[in-house]
């Protein structure tokens, strides 16, 4: 049988994503693609892929996958998470591995990706990529349109994702050091396009306040909870196009930031637009996270974009060969912040 990763359990919402499908918004097709393209890029660097190779985007709760290939090389980049490797499906205990490093696994191995605890998003890249057809120039999954990725939908148990490579290439494993996946204290925005629908004091309020990422946020839009923003000229505009990171304010005054799967057009005024350099960090913010904004000029936004791209293009320089793991399982558990939970569990049992 051809090489594949078999889905034992899919996690909360696991989809295939790459850098998206620009060029079709005039037909109503969202761009889609990775919510956090920086982490996707890093995951691909770790397994030696071209940076835009499609990978699995995991939201909040990870999948359990079985290796049905001679061997595979995987890398996990994104939120902190416990990843357990079991030698086969019947094994009761396995080995914990870290994110931000590549790992080679043999046929029959089972990978159990746990729950993310500081982020919404994790990428699972596989060396060589998935052997899936491109839809309109991209392998990104557009869920509502049933387009791209794996049959246009999120993974379900029993899916068998075909791999390009039958076996991992013969090379060292690597880890990525000094990569910051944190969130900025304030997300930078460029005012507009419809900031003239808000009074100066309402705009000042928007920048002074702190918001919370609300339930109901998804790949299409991040909903923010907080004191409502008042409109000065109503909240209906003649529908126009929606850029990534647009912050629209509907009638209830609660801002909504439009993300990868955003509808191409919409009829609410958009107060500001998150700059392209800050979108990856925004995309990985989990429900409940605090978020605040600050205005910058276009020139600052372009400089930030240049800096982020420079950081991405030099990620391979941060690869460190993974020698025999010095860290013990306990250290890894501590790294995943699970020790206290286990200790607490035992003391309660006693």
């Amino acid at each position: 049988m051809s090489a594949a990763l078999r889905v034992i359990s899919p996690g909360l919402l696991t989809t295939v994503q790459d850098f998206g499908r620009p060029g079709y918004q005039h037909l109503g097709i969202p761009v889609s693609g990775a919510l956090d393209p920086f982490s996707l890029y890093a995951a691909n660097v770790l397994v030696g892929n071209a940076p835009g190779t499609a990978a699995l985007e995991v939201a909040y709760v990870g999948p359990t996958l079985a290796v049905e290939a001679d061997s595979v090389r995987l890398a996990f980049v994104g939120g902190k998470v416990a990843i357990e490797i079991l030698p086969d499906a019947t094994a009761s205990a396995g080995t914990l591995i870290g994110s931000m490093e590549s790992v080679r696994l043999e046929r029959g191995a089972v990978i159990r990706v746990g729950s993310l605890w500081d982020s919404a998003i994790l990428y699972v890249a596989v060396e060589g990529g998935f052997d899936l057809p491109s839809a309109l120039g991209s392998r990104s999954t557009y869920l509502r349109g049933g387009l791209g990725g794996w049959h246009g939908r999120a993974l379900i148990a029993g899916d068998r994702l075909p791999l390009v490579l039958d076996r991992a290439t013969d090379r060292d494993e690597f880890r990525l050091d000094d990569v910051d996946l944190g969130a900025p204290a304030r997300f930078r925005v460029v005012l507009g396009p419809q900031h003239d629908y808000f009074s100066e004091s309402a705009i000042a309020d928007f920048f002074a306040r702190e918001y919370t990422v609300a339930a109901g946020s998804d790949r299409m839009a991040m909903r923010l909870d907080g004191a409502p923003i008042a409109h000065a000229r109503g909240y209906d505009i003649t529908s126009d196009a929606i850029a990534p990171g647009s912050i629209q304010v509907p009638g209830n005054g609660k801002p909504i930031v439009l993300l990868a799967d955003r509808q191409t057009t919409g009829g609410y005024p958009k107060l500001a637009t998150v700059i392209s350099a800050d979108l990856p960090a925004l995309g990985r913010l989990p429900i409940g996270a605090k978020v605040a904004f600050e205005p910058v000029s276009i020139e600052e936004a372009v400089e930030a974009r240049r800096a982020l791209l420079q950081q991405m293009h030099t990620l391979h320089e941060k690869l460190v060969p993974l020698s025999l793991p010095a860290a013990t399982v306990a250290a890894r558990l501590q790294d995943a912040n699970l020790i206290s939970g286990i200790v607490d569990g035992r003391s309660e049992a006693a």
């Binding site: 839809a135 387009l147 529908s239 126009d240 998150v274 936004a301």
Partner: protein
Amino acid sequence: MPDYRLLHAGDTALVVEFGQGIDRRLNAKVLALARRIEQNVAAGRLVGIVETVPTFRSLMVYYDPLVLNHAALAVRIDELVRDLQPAMQAGRVWRLPVCYDPCVAPDLEDVARRTGLTPTTVVERHSAETYHVYMLGFLPGQAYMGDLPAELDLPRRATPRLTIPAGSLAIAMNMTCIFPLQSPCGWHLIGRSPVPLWDGEAGKALLAPGDQVMFAPVSLREFDQLCAKVMARALKIEPIATGVGVAA
């Protein structure tokens, strides 16, 4: 002087806004500029454009700011706007079958009540009009068509439906739409069309901005037969005319 303004939508998109409201003359300018940009990109005279998205009264221009500086883009847009010839925009004419039977038109009675017309008159008025496709958006292949006869103009429903079937024919805010996919919807549903507006496999939309659309009422029985043909991939919908000018 060219009558437009430029608005930043972040560092990778610029809005060229020709005015406010839904107006065919504004829309003709938008479509003409989109075409001019497309021609210049194709000819290699404009580098750094990612894509453009025409809407009712503005064109969104997505660009790579590390290739094309926003100030340089603004200069190029100004040159292109100055010699726009919106009247040259050509569109196709379509006649699309739609079924207004109450079985597939859950809001027809309600629309009749709100407009003070009978359901039959609502259908007559709606199907007598030739509509202009202003833009595609919201869902793949979804065309915003106008203008609705004034007597059918209604605001959106107070409570949107969480899901409506694909092919739903709907009206709201002076516009009519066929929703190509199952989706949430706050519009009034007055019928259903068997015609797939979006071909996911080919990645093609049936309608394009600038097209003209007429609706041909069919019975529920004919609707079912047409749906069966669609399922068997045996329904071919062609425009009844091409190259129709749009008033500037």
